[in-house]
Amino acid sequence: MAAPALPHCVSAVDFEHQTRVDGDRIGSTVKPEIDKLLNDGAARLLARASDNRSLSRELLLPRLTAGVEKYLLKDDPNTPHTDISKFIDELQADDLCLIIACERGDEHAWTDLVERFTPTVRSAARSASKNEDAAEDLAQSIWAELYGLRARKDGMPASKLAYYSGRGSLAGWLRAVVAQLAVDVFRKQSRLVQTEEDTDLERLARVAEGQPIVARIPTPEESVSNRFAQTDMQQALHQSVQELPAEDRLLVKLYYFDNLRLREAGAVLGVHEATASRRLTRIQTDLRKRVTKILVDERGWTQAETERSFAEVAQHLETDLESLLSKEAL
């Protein structure tokens, strides 16, 4: 399959969120002993790759250094050497060699990349787009970014390809690139088309920040929820959620805020649906304890008042939100 021609629709996507893993920034911070670990790891990686694209250790080393720094040393500068060696040995050797070869202008590698991953990019673009035309534009944009930057001859590894560390699969990385690009393109378009709805959204956002609504007459449901919002319980619950461990908080956000199914939330967390369900039950119990503790300790409620308040609020919510809850997919 021939490399796709550079399309004219290369989007002005900003890569401000990308973190380069070419090693330029951190090469000097790596300790000598770690440098040796990386050298040995590079040799092993080239040896176990089924096609190392005739790369040398020197070409591979900056990429490995950047990856180790990003995923290990940033969190723990004294990461055990065994963990570093294990990290390198778990990298996707073939994918990493392919990308580095592409970045260096290897035509064969580029042909392989396009042949192998055109279906992946097309599929990802289709799922991130509203229609076939938009999906095709998106896919072409991806290849244009990769291909166009590859053509640079200033020797600087500024291509998007430089951001692949080899930790995950190349297919997964390409899908993430497509998804990011789709979001960025969408947001760019959204900024260009300002509507009155945005104003409404901004006003609602202020509600969340605690600013009272004076311009609107609340509906009966909102009346209940406003009363609820005024209670100490609502604030205590918000505070309790914020205090949850990150994994638990993420599950609460995915399930209650993003309205995902347990299976989808479990997929994000890398656990089975049943595990996610058990975890959610535990979180609910944990949150109730936390809310009760806050109300008793900080707001001077009695235990009985807390229990009664839980029941009353729940009863109100059940009555008011019955129709809404029935629409939500569980």
């Binding site: 969120h17 930790r167 998804a179 956002a205 619950l237 993420l250 890398g270 609910q284």
Partner: protein
């Protein structure tokens, strides 16, 4: 109680989520890049790094949306990869289909029935073979007479062991049928031979008793004509009296063999144009075969009159000594020529009167065809 409290918390959290969903958090300064997103989605990050990104995800709906989107696509990809792996194994799929609950529901009882039927059939078959073996064993436990094998020492060795086993008898009969190739040595040639060859091969029929004393008397229609009977008349009588179903079955089989042998014999007879040796042995063979076939009296096609042996073929009584290459004189009963012949040779009249129909008789080197 716990379930109720959890339900209350569930409702409270839903309300919290609905209120907060309007707050699109983009506050996070450092969004996850594509490498981090894919590594997080594939769950291949070191624990510390993953925790860091998880903390970011709880606050950043943008990155969370991306992660959710990638996670769902990963699930699709994983499923399609699984399908690709499973697809080539059509054979395995077929085997798996054989063990589906629906198939097993009907196949298992059917298989059980087949097994039961097969076992039952085996048992029935086994019983039958046991019965057969028992019968054979019963007959074999009765000691077979060595006299059959060694006629000379038979009576001296064990006078009581006179009844031969059916198998032995069959064997002897078969041997007798093939007498032309292996002539017994102790048989007395009682047949009046026509020439030297005939007398030499007459030893092939080891039963001098078979030759009737009187020409008017038909041969004794008893199994005593069998070779064993020739060697032990007493045994033959006992055998006839003890003719069991089993023995008849064996006799039937031997009769079949005898018939086949007879057919072969007939062919060779015609091929060799009725050599004297064959002519002598043929009656014996036919006699044995006929006797065996009918059990008691099977001598309807063979007769011995006036010392001449005749076999009936195509409605014509033919002298076993008849040689078709020699000229014959055709006579009609009652004709003048016939009366002249029988006047000279009364024995021929005796033959002609005894045997009805057309007769070919060899008498003093002359062949007569009497109608």
């Amino acid at each position: 109680m716990k379930q109720e409290t959890n339900n209350e918390m569930d409702l409270l959290l839903r309300r919290l989520g609905r209120r907060d969903e309007t707050t699109v958090s983009n506050a996070a300064d450092d969004h996850l890049d594509a490498d981090e997103l894919s590594a997080y989605t594939e769950n291949v990050l070191p624990a510390a790094a993953r925790a860091r990104y998880t903390a970011h995800l709880t606050e950043c709906s943008r990155c969370r949306d991306l992660i959710v989107q990638l996670s769902s696509s990963i699930g699709v990809i994983a499923a399609s990869d699984m399908a690709k792996v499973a697809e080539p194994s059509v054979w395995r799929k077929f085997l798996a289909s054989l063990f589906t609950p629906m198939v097993l529901r009907y196949a298992a009882p059917a298989l059980g029935l087949i097994v039961v039927a097969a076992i039952g059939f085996m048992i029935v078959r086994r019983d039958q073979s046991d019965q057969h073996v028992t019968q054979v064993t019963n007959t074999e436990t009765q000691p077979s007479s060595p006299a059959v094998e060694k006629p000379g020492a038979a009576l001296n060795d064990s006078p009581t062991k006179t009844e031969p086993s059916p198998d032995t008898r069959v064997e002897k009969q078969s041997r007798g049928l093939q007498a032309d190739s292996s002539p017994p040595q102790n048989a007395a040639p009682a047949v009046k031979s026509v020439d030297d060859d005939a007398s030499k091969d007459a030893a092939a029929q080891p039963k001098p008793e078979q030759q009737p004393a009187s020409a008017n008397e038909p041969p004794p229609p008893k199994p005593s004509a069998a070779p064993t009977a020739a060697e032990s008349p007493h045994t033959a009588d006992t055998e006839v009296s003890k003719s069991e179903v089993k023995e008849l079955r064996v006799a039937g089989r031997s009769a079949e063999r005898a018939l086949q042998a007879e057919r072969r014999q007939d062919k060779s007879d015609f091929a060799r144009k009725a050599k004297p040796a064959d002519q002598v042995s043929a009656p014996a063979t036919g006699s044995v075969a006929n006797l065996q076939r009918d059990g008691v009296d099977l001598s309807a096609n063979t007769r011995t009159v006036a010392g001449r042996h005749f076999r009936k073929r195509g409605g014509v009584w033919i002298d076993t000594a008849y040689d078709s290459s020699k000229d014959s004189v055709t006579l009609t009963r009652g004709s003048e020529q016939y009366r002249a012949l029988v006047a000279d040779e009364p024995a021929i009249k005796n033959i002609a009167d005894t045997l009805e129909g057309e007769i070919i008789v060899v008498w003093k080197d002359h062949t007569y065809r009497i109608r």
